[in-house]
Each structure stands twice: as structure tokens, then as C-alpha cells.
Amino acid sequence: MNSTIKNILRFCIILLLQVLILNKITLRWWSEPSSFPIFIPFVYPLFILLLPFEAPVPLLLILGFILGITVDTFMNTAGMHACATILIAYLRTNVLSALLPRNLSEYSGQHPSIRTMGWMPFLVYSGFLILLHHIVFFSIELWNFSNIGFLMLKILASAVTSMLFIIVYLLLFTRQNAARS
């Protein structure tokens, strides 16, 4: 399948998954301390993470803007998601080139995944960017640094949960080597 069509499809799937399913479930890790924040997992930055290696930065920025604005539209948070998503789209190339042994231009026609990068590098790559995304998003959303512990707790809990959802998504939607042969 053509890479462009594939990515458009993935855009739609991830967006619908985020908007129609994940936005409806509010999580909290445990309910005992009532001050523990509630949050929803964000899976949509995965679209930016999974774009092909050789995607140029301007394209990444534009796509990140479109993705963020679309999510904002559905969640009535004008610009907040877009702000965070643009940041990770901008930093994506640098993180990738720092993590991968070879130059990015050598990986033509591939996209970041557990298969092409291996478990650890991919988890570090996605974990770092997701954490960054959450830090930016929740800082803008709360915009109140008087209770920094609460903010940190919310960011951390949300990021870990998002990572779990992302791993589940990847395990579900990546074609395994065994199935291919």
C-alpha cells in the first residue's frame, strides 16, 4: 500500500480512537486519596511518532499542527493540543538521529517501529516525546504552578498510562514477522 494512503488511514484511525473511545474514559490510578488527579490517556501523538524516517521537518510541523487542531476541535481546547504536538513534531528528527546508529537518510521507505528500531530505542524515543507532550499540554491546561506536585503527578500518571495504551496499540496494529512469512 502506498505510504501516503497508509498514513492518512492511520491518521483517521488514531483520531477516531482518541476522540470516540479514549476521550470517554476518565482514569485515576486509585481513588483512595481524593486529591489524585483524573486524566485521559492520549494516544494521538503516535501518528507523529510513526511517520516515515525521511519526512522533512516542515511537513512534520504542518501535520502536527493539523492533528493538534483537529483534536482541539473535538475537545474544545483551542490550540492546546496543537501547541504540544508541534513541539514534539519539531523535536522528533533530533531525537531520532540521536538514538539511531546510522544517518536518517539511510532508512528510506521505513518508519519508526519496534521492528526497525528495536524495543529499547523505540520505547525511549516514544517515551521521551510523549512525556514532553504531556508536560507541555498539562502545563498549558492547568496554568497554575502553585501546586507543582499535583501537576507532576498528573503528568507522570498520564504519560505512563498513555505509553501503556501506545504499546497496546502497536502490538495490535503492527504486522508481525511470523504472519508475513
Binding site: 521537518v57 482541539d72 476541535t73 483551542a78 490550540g79 492546546m80 496543537a82 519539531y90
Partner: protein, 285 residues
């Protein structure tokens, strides 16, 4: 100039990044203003359609819950309506029915014992010793002998004779009809008519130690085979002590105005027959 273009090309990514971020921050700023931005909100068409579709689907999963909540609301409204009814039509008292338990589920079950039919009063008498009310419902409408009849404000009587299209009701203004009632504190008793005045009923054999106040409401109790509980019978106007028997007689003003009855409800108690059979079988032994 050339340097400027070179500068732009060199830092194009950074400039684009900063530009987009500034656009986002401006958007966030504008959400606080009244005009806001309608495009980036779920009020716009595409997001609206998606949400509409989703709610169309989710609607079916919520039907059961909605049904329950509607039922509860219905019961609540019914209860409220009762009160309003009373305030409008009954001048001398504010409460026909003591407010029931907060648990509306049990309320519904209690109501389900009784089926209400509306009927129009076509003839009415108040001056005989046994007064009758005639209504325009008969056996073809499901009216049977001994069904209870109430008006919007209180007890009317009991169905005595039934024809195909009409029924005559032995009204509470009759020596034959005894209604099981309870006082405010739960004391049970019987209400009869002493034939003196059309609006006055008497409650006999009330123990002397029971403290009855003027203005107290008297309601039907659960003992009756036919009347639903908590239908108003009347309000206390005076009490008299009968020294010989050591009881007091309570005089009530009937909550139903028998002079201008127009519409009544005929009540079918679904469990009347079963209850009667059970009581008869125990009485024989």
C-alpha cells in the same frame, strides 16, 4: 538581501515552528474572549456530525437507563401533581397524602397494585340515608362490583351495582359503607356517616388517650380490600368524648365535596380477590 534569504533558508524549520506555536498560543488566548473561535470547537460541522453519529449509537446502550430515570421522574411528577391538585381544589387542607418514602422504586410498586379508570358522574344524591352516585362506566369498561371510587380530593365510595354501560356507587354518605382509616399517628379506625349533614363524617371508637387535633388529616389505611392506602378521607373538625364507653368520636369534614362531583376514578385493586380469598379461608377455620 542574499544574507537574509540564506538566513531564512537556514532557520526555516525554526521559524515555521515558532510561527505555528505563536498561532496556537494566540488561539488559546482568544478562547477567553466572548467571541472565541467557533471553528476550533466541537460546535463546528464535522465534529458535530461525528459526535451526532456517536450519540446515535450510544443512545441504544443508554435506553435502559433512560427508561429507569424516566420512570422515576414520572413517579416524582405524579407525587408532585398530587400535591398541586390538592392545593388547587381542596381549600381546607394542604396535604391530601403525606409525602411518601423517598425511595421512588417502592412507590411505583405500590401504585402498580391499582389500576385507575376515569369516569364521569352522571347522577348524584346527597339527601337520602344511603346515597348513590351514578357514573358512565359499566361492565364493558371493566368496572366490577366492590371497586373503590375516589375523586381528585378524596374517598367517594364503592361500586354497588353494575350494568353494561353504567355503575352506581354507594357513596361514603351512607350508613352501609364503613371505610378503614388511620389518624395522623397511625391509629386505625372506622369512618361512618351519621346521616346528619352531607359534609360531615364520623370516626367512631377512637381510644380516649389518642391525641387528636383539629385540622389533622385522616387517610385510608392498608386494611381495606378496595381502597388504596393514603387516600384522604377528611380533616378533623371536632372531637367528642363518650364517657360511658371510654372512647371519643372524631368528626371529620369530608375532603370530597359531594355536592359538585363531576369526575371520579374507579380503582381496580389487582390483589383484592387474592386477599379476600386468603382472609375468608382463615376465617372459616
Amino acid at each position: 538581501m542574499r544574507n537574509f534569504i540564506l538566513f531564512i533558508r537556514r532557520f526555516f524549520n525554526l521559524i515555521l515552528f515558532l510561527g505555528l506555536e505563536i498561532a496556537c498560543i494566540m488561539m488559546i488566548e482568544r478562547t477567553d474572549t466572548l467571541q472565541g473561535n467557533d471553528i476550533v470547537s466541537s460546535a463546528n460541522t464535522i465534529a458535530g456530525i461525528v459526535y451526532k453519529k456517536q450519540s446515535d449509537v450510544m443512545y441504544y446502550f443508554g435506553l435502559r437507563k433512560m427508561n429507569d430515570s424516566l420512570l422515576n421522574e414520572n413517579a416524582m411528577l405524579r407525587k408532585m401533581l398530587n400535591r398541586v391538585h390538592t392545593v388547587d381544589t381542596l381549600r381546607d387542607s394542604l396535604v391530601r397524602m403525606a409525602t411518601g418514602p423517598e425511595d421512588t422504586a417502592t412507590h411505583i410498586i405500590e401504585y402498580a397494585n391499582y389500576v385507575y379508570m376515569t369516569a364521569r358522574v352522571i347522577n348524584n344524591s346527597t339527601n337520602a340515608s344511603d346515597n348513590y352516585v351514578t357514573i358512565n362506566r359499566g361492565s364493558k369498561d371493566g368496572v366490577r362490583k366492590n371497586m373503590a371510587v375516589i375523586s381528585g380530593t378524596g374517598v367517594v365510595g364503592r361500586v354497588e351495582h353494575v350494568s353494561a354501560h353504567f355503575a352506581s356507587i354507594l357513596s361514603a354518605l351512607s350508613t352501609k359503607l364503613k371505610v378503614n382509616v388511620k389518624l395522623k399517628d397511625g391509629t386505625n379506625g372506622l369512618v361512618v356517616w351519621d346521616e346528619k349533614s352531607a359534609g360531615i363524617l364520623t370516626m367512631i371508637d377512637v381510644p380516649q388517650q389518642v391525641n387528636v387535633k383539629k385540622g389533622d388529616t385522616v387517610l385510608t389505611n392498608n386494611f381495606s380490600l378496595f381502597f388504596p392506602p393514603d387516600v384522604m378521607v377528611g380533616t378533623v373538625i371536632k372531637t367528642e368524648v363518650e364517657k360511658k364507653k371510654g372512647v371519643q368520636i372524631v368528626y371529620l369534614r369530608s375532603s370530597t365535596n359531594f355536592h359538585n362531583l363531576q369526575y371520579v376514578y374507579v380503582i381496580d385493586n389487582k390483589f383484592a380477590l387474592e386477599k379476600k380469598q386468603l382472609e375468608d379461608s382463615t376465617a372459616k377455620k
